[in-house]
């Protein structure tokens, strides 16, 4: 039995769903953020797998872009979370609801 493309895709899908579940169930902004990172990495896995099996190098290049962008996102995201923390002493997103309706 060979490990074909589908194996990777299912694994990637699984990781992605775990990430989504994390976002939906957690209340800590940092953990939500980490879950989002997990989603991105699931995507990277899919890219690499496709790239390997098609074969076409573009997917791997895409992965680099994703990583670079994710790094930039981390920088801005953490800054935002730190600002919130400084003000509220908490990163619980359920306490952030000044604006609604």
């Amino acid at each position: 039995m060979t490990v074909g493309l589908e194996w990777y895709l299912w694994l990637s899908a699984l990781l992605f769903v775990i990430g989504v579940a994390g976002v939906l169930t957690r209340r800590n902004a940092l953990i939500i953020f980490m879950s989002i990172e997990l989603m991105l990495n699931a995507v990277n896995l899919a890219f690499v797998a496709f790239s390997r099996f098609i074969p076409n190098i573009d997917g791997q290049i895409f992965v680099f872009f994703v990583m670079a962008v994710a790094a930039a996102e981390v920088a801005v995201g953490l800054a935002i979370i730190v600002t919130i923390f400084k003000r509220k002493e908490s990163v619980d997103i359920d306490q952030v609801n000044l604006m609604r309706w």
Partner: protein
């Protein structure tokens, strides 16, 4: 002139700019004169254009000028153009003529109001949009005018915005008109998708070549008619018009009687080629028209506010116009539009003059009462002779007394209902004509006859309005008398010049409808005779009740106990039938007004706004402010989208 047609709408626009920008500096007097002068110039130009048109051979009486390519992208091409044909020529004459008189009248009426310059600016802007509406050669231009007049009407109804009720009335007018606009827009899109063009001539061409299901034509025309019911205050969207009386009286005369509210009739007439292709829509129009006519007439029977009577009367008369166009007698509908513009503007301005005088009398006597309540008027005939005589002319014109304009135009409509095979509609229209005569003369008698029912110190201060106000009244009175003389039917030895003038516009529609055969003159005479008898008896009944025995209506109000006595009262024993009949209507009017009008239709309009607000306040709660909820909603959305995509394979 034809090369300078665009100047006709431009003139009032210049007036608007001048008064809008420098009005405060110019002062009230100058603003009034400038505004009137601009309309006057436009009127002279319209007359010139009209005679130029008359100089053409009847079948070439179309001047279409495209000034520039307004929108030209791909296959959507809308030139900015003006269409002057007999129909629009009649309309611009009426619009500029009547508004000229009303502008002059306004100089006297609005004198002393701190917002006078703003008033004239709005009024000029209104005329600009109205002229655009009737002169445009395509649906979008018409729509611009359509929206523009709505906006101005909204601004002018709420002109004295310090009064909360007035601002609310303005809002209601706007809300109802939105529903109408919705219909217009949908109709416009359907025309575009069906014929691929948005000009009138293009659509007409498309209609000539049209083959296929008339269902699309039905929906198209029905949507447009929905637009017309909003603008022209027909069932069920008429509610805003009586409320719109909150605005200054000249505004009621100009916008809510003579011009804007007739835009719906104009629109149907302009699109006669489409409406005639959909018998279903025509049937609906005729029925909506006649039901509105009788419904509003019954309500008018029991109103005590002088302007409310006239407002319901306007709704009722607009119903007649729709009956006319609905039974395929487009020219008759337009004729009534014209004569109605004269006599209803006259009546409104007359009522304005009365209100003006009563208001001043109240003010002098230091009395804070409603200057519009006819129960506290009376005997004004001797105090305000000019106003009385002109008002009297308006009343006999609208009542359909032979020889005056209203008789010819209304009678033509009623006759055409029978001639085109809608006897049921015709009968209802005849009853409404009787009611019209009755309520108008009730109004006349209560206002001008008898003796003053207010306080003595007020009575001493009553006097006729200044020349600047009575002069327009006189002119309109003359027009109300002679305006119908170009519409005299063949049966009475007339030439129907007006109908012939309009004929080329409705050629397509008339050919489409085909020859209906010529009913005998005898039939026409009998319809005419019935309508004259009804009008006269309406007047006489009003006279009997409100002049000779003013206590009768009051007793009728308590009828349930007195019915027996009343019926056997020796005085009226031979008028039992008449009584039973009118009682029913009075009761019905009261009941309709209180239940259907105030509760249901008004309630629905206000209710829609409330309901939307309520839905909104509930739906907004889904925005909980919590990121986790947002993420969950998104996830649900994603599952739905992706699920559908994958399931679709």
């Amino acid at each position: 002139m034809s090369n300078y047609l665009y100047l006709i709408p431009i003139m009032p626009f210049i007036g608007f700019l001048i008064n809008g920008i420098w009005g405060k500096k110019l002062g009230e007097k100058a603003a009034g004169y400038i505004a009137s002068a601009m309309i006057g110039i436009a009127f002279v130009m319209s007359v010139t254009a009209f005679f130029e048109l008359l100089g053409h051979d009847p079948h070439h009486r179309v001047i279409e000028k495209e000034f520039f390519s307004w929108i030209a992208v791909g296959d959507l091409s809308i030139p900015f153009g003006i269409l002057l044909d007999p129909l629009s020529a009649v309309m611009i004459l009426v619009v500029t003529g009547v508004s000229f008189l009303i502008h002059i009248y306004s100089i006297g009426y609005i004198h002393g109001d701190p917002g006078a310059t703003r008033y004239f600016a709005y009024l000029n802007l209104f005329v600009f949009f109205m002229l655009l509406l009737v002169l445009g050669n395509s649906y979008p231009i018409m729509f611009i005018g359509w929206e523009g007049v709505g906006l101005c009407s909204y601004l002018l109804i709420g002109f004295w915005f310090t009064d909360q009720a007035k601002a609310t009335a303005g809002k209601k007018a706007f809300v109802v008109n939105r529903i109408g606009d919705f219909g217009f827009l949908i109709g416009m899109f359907l025309i575009y998708s069906t014929f691929g063009t948005l000009t009138f001539s293009g659509a007409m061409h498309g209609a000539e070549l049209f083959v296929g299901s008339t269902a699309i034509i039905f929906w198209m025309t029905l949507s447009m008619f929905l637009g017309a019911t909003g603008k022209s205050a027909q069932l069920p969207l008429y509610v805003w018009l009586p409320d719109a009386m909150a605005g200054p009286t000249p505004v009621s005369a100009l916008i809510h009687a003579a011009t804007m509210v007739t835009a719906g009739v104009y629109m149907v007439a302009r699109n006669s080629f489409l409406f005639i292709m959909s018998p279903g829509t025509m049937e609906i129009i005729a029925w909506v028209g006649v039901l509105t006519a009788i419904f509003a007439a019954t309500i008018a029977l029991v109103q005590n506010d002088i302007k409310k009577v006239l407002a319901y009367s306007t709704v009722s008369q607009l119903g007649y116009m729709f009956v006319g166009v609905g039974v395929g007698a487009f020219a008759a509908g337009v004729s009534h539009l014209v004569t109605h513009a004269f006599f209803k503007a006259l009546l409104f301005l007359g009522s304005g003059s009365v209100i003006h005088a009563v208001h001043h009398a109240h003010a002098h006597a230091g009395f804070k009462g409603d200057p519009q309540d006819i129960r506290f008027m009376g005997g004004l005939r001797s105090k305000m002779p000019t106003t009385f005589w002109t008002f009297f002319v308006g009343c006999i014109a609208i009542a359909g007394v032979p020889g005056l304009s209203g008789f010819f135009s209304k009678d033509e409509i009623i006759w055409m209902t029978f001639a085109n095979g809608h006897p049921a509609i015709g009968v209802i229209a005849l009853i409404a004509a009787f009611l019209t005569a009755f309520y108008m003369f009730r109004l006349l008698f209560l206002t001008f006859y008898g003796s003053w029912r207010g306080r003595k110190d007020q009575e001493d201060h009553l006097k006729d309005s200044p020349k600047v106000m009575t002069l327009p009244l006189t002119v309109l009175a003359v027009l109300s008398i002679i305006g119908g003389w170009i519409m005299i039917p063949y049966a009475l030895g007339g030439g129907m010049q007006f109908e012939h003038f309009l004929e080329p516009v409705f050629e397509f529609a008339n050919n489409f409808a085909g020859e209906k055969g010529h009913p005998s003159h005898m039939a026409e005479y009998s319809v005419m005779a019935i309508s004259i008898i009804l009008a006269i008896s309406g007047i006489l009944l009003a006279r009997a009740w409100y002049l000779k025995n003013p206590d009768i209506p009051a007793r009728l109000a308590n009828r349930s106990k007195l019915a027996h006595k009343v019926l056997f009262n020796k005085y009226y024993v031979d008028e039992i039938y008449n009584f039973a009949f009118i009682q029913t209507f009075l009761g019905l009017g009261e009941a309709l007004w209180k239940s259907f009008d105030v509760l249901i239709v008004d309630g629905i309009v206000n209710g829609v706004a409330k309901l939307l607000g309520w839905i909104s306040s509930v739906v907004r709660k889904i925005q909980t402010g919590l990121v986790s909820n947002y993420a969950l909603m998104m996830a649900i959305g994603i599952v739905a989208v992706v699920g559908y995509m994958v399931w679709k394979i």
